[in-house]
């Protein structure tokens, strides 16, 4: 192999690496775009997705969105890489990639998203309130139907077993309540 051949090989390898990098970056950008679209759509239609489901969707997008786009690129170019440059065909391929990725994302969302709840406040806040309601009920039994003057009484006198019941998990930085009376 002559030095010129070696330089050619190196040049081809570099071009291949750059093409692969471009492909990877473009795939990631497309997936990010699709994910952003899905999030915006979910905000509009008020669907609720747990953190677990979001992670599953993101992993699935990252892992699988490249497959249909690569197949499309193979059919169009006879190669797994995208066409470089801004040709019409390349733009069509990019649009197809977005469409495929979006379809893929929505299939997964349809599988993973639970039925939208009519009521969206966190379950822990409500269950904690129910627990406090029971504590107030016990206080009322002992004090002739009177309401406790403040929440601290429930803690001090042992009606509220767990002080954490007075917190809503989702707003842990809530300021303290008035210890000497109602708010």
């Amino acid at each position: 192999m002559t030095p010129v051949d070696g330089q050619k090989d190196t040049g081809q390898a570099n071009r291949a690496t750059h093409a692969t990098t471009r492909h990877a970056l473009r795939s990631l950008a497309l997936e990010a775009l699709v994910l952003a679209a899905v999030i915006l759509l979910c905000l509009n239609i008020s669907c609720h997705i747990s953190l677990r489901s979001w992670i599953a969707v993101i992993i699935t997008l990252v892992a699988a969105a490249g497959i249909p786009t690569s197949i499309y690129a193979l059919l169009v170019f006879g190669d797994f890489r995208y066409s470089s440059g801004g040709s019409f065909t390349a733009r069509i391929t990019s649009i197809a990639a977005v469409v495929f990725a979006a379809l893929w994302a929505f299939v997964w969302l349809a599988l993973l998203v639970p039925t939208p709840r009519a009521d969206h406040s966190p379950p822990t806040c409500l269950s904690h309130l129910k627990g406090i309601g029971l504590a107030i009920g016990m206080y009322q039994i002992d004090y002739g139907g009177l309401m406790p003057p403040n929440l601290q009484v429930l803690i001090n006198e042992g009606y509220a077993k767990d002080p954490d019941d007075l917190r809503c998990l989702f707003f842990p930085d809530a300021p303290p309540v008035d210890r000497h009376g109602p708010s």
Binding site: L43, S46, H48, I49, S50, L51, R52, S53, W54, P114, D119, H120, S121, P122, P123, C125, L126, H128, L129, K130, I132, G133, L134, I136, G137, L146, M147, P148, P149, N150, L151, Q152, L154, I155, N156, E157, G158, P163, L166, R167, C168, F170, F171, P172, D173, A174, P175, P176, V177, R179, G181, P182, S183
Partner: protein
């Protein structure tokens, strides 16, 4: 640990009703201090000790209409900061 050392730090507002006021299912006594902008429902404990969720605007209206039933002016719920809004939205499911 002595229970008296525990500070009743709360995410909820507690409002003590006046003695003469009827403790019925329409009088809120505890509620979330905050609601989210996306889904502004607030968990509420009523005076008959049943708990439920009420729309943010409905609770504000209810508190205004029942203002005379409380011993002191109540703290109304507020819309949460963006940070907690997103966290709450992501975690709940």
């Amino acid at each position: 640990m002595d229970r008296h050392d525990v500070d009743a730090t709360s995410s909820f507002v507690y409002a003590l009703p006046k003695p003469g006021c009827a403790l019925d299912a329409t009088l809120p006594v505890m509620w979330d201090k905050r609601a989210t902008r996306f889904h502004p429902n607030v968990a509420v404990l009523f005076a008959d000790l049943h708990a439920g969720r009420v729309a943010f605007s409905d609770l504000i209206t209810l508190l205004d209409s029942k203002a005379s039933c409380y011993a002191r002016p109540v703290v109304k719920p507020v819309i949460a900061s963006k940070k907690w809004e997103w966290l709450r939205w992501l975690i709940q499911g």
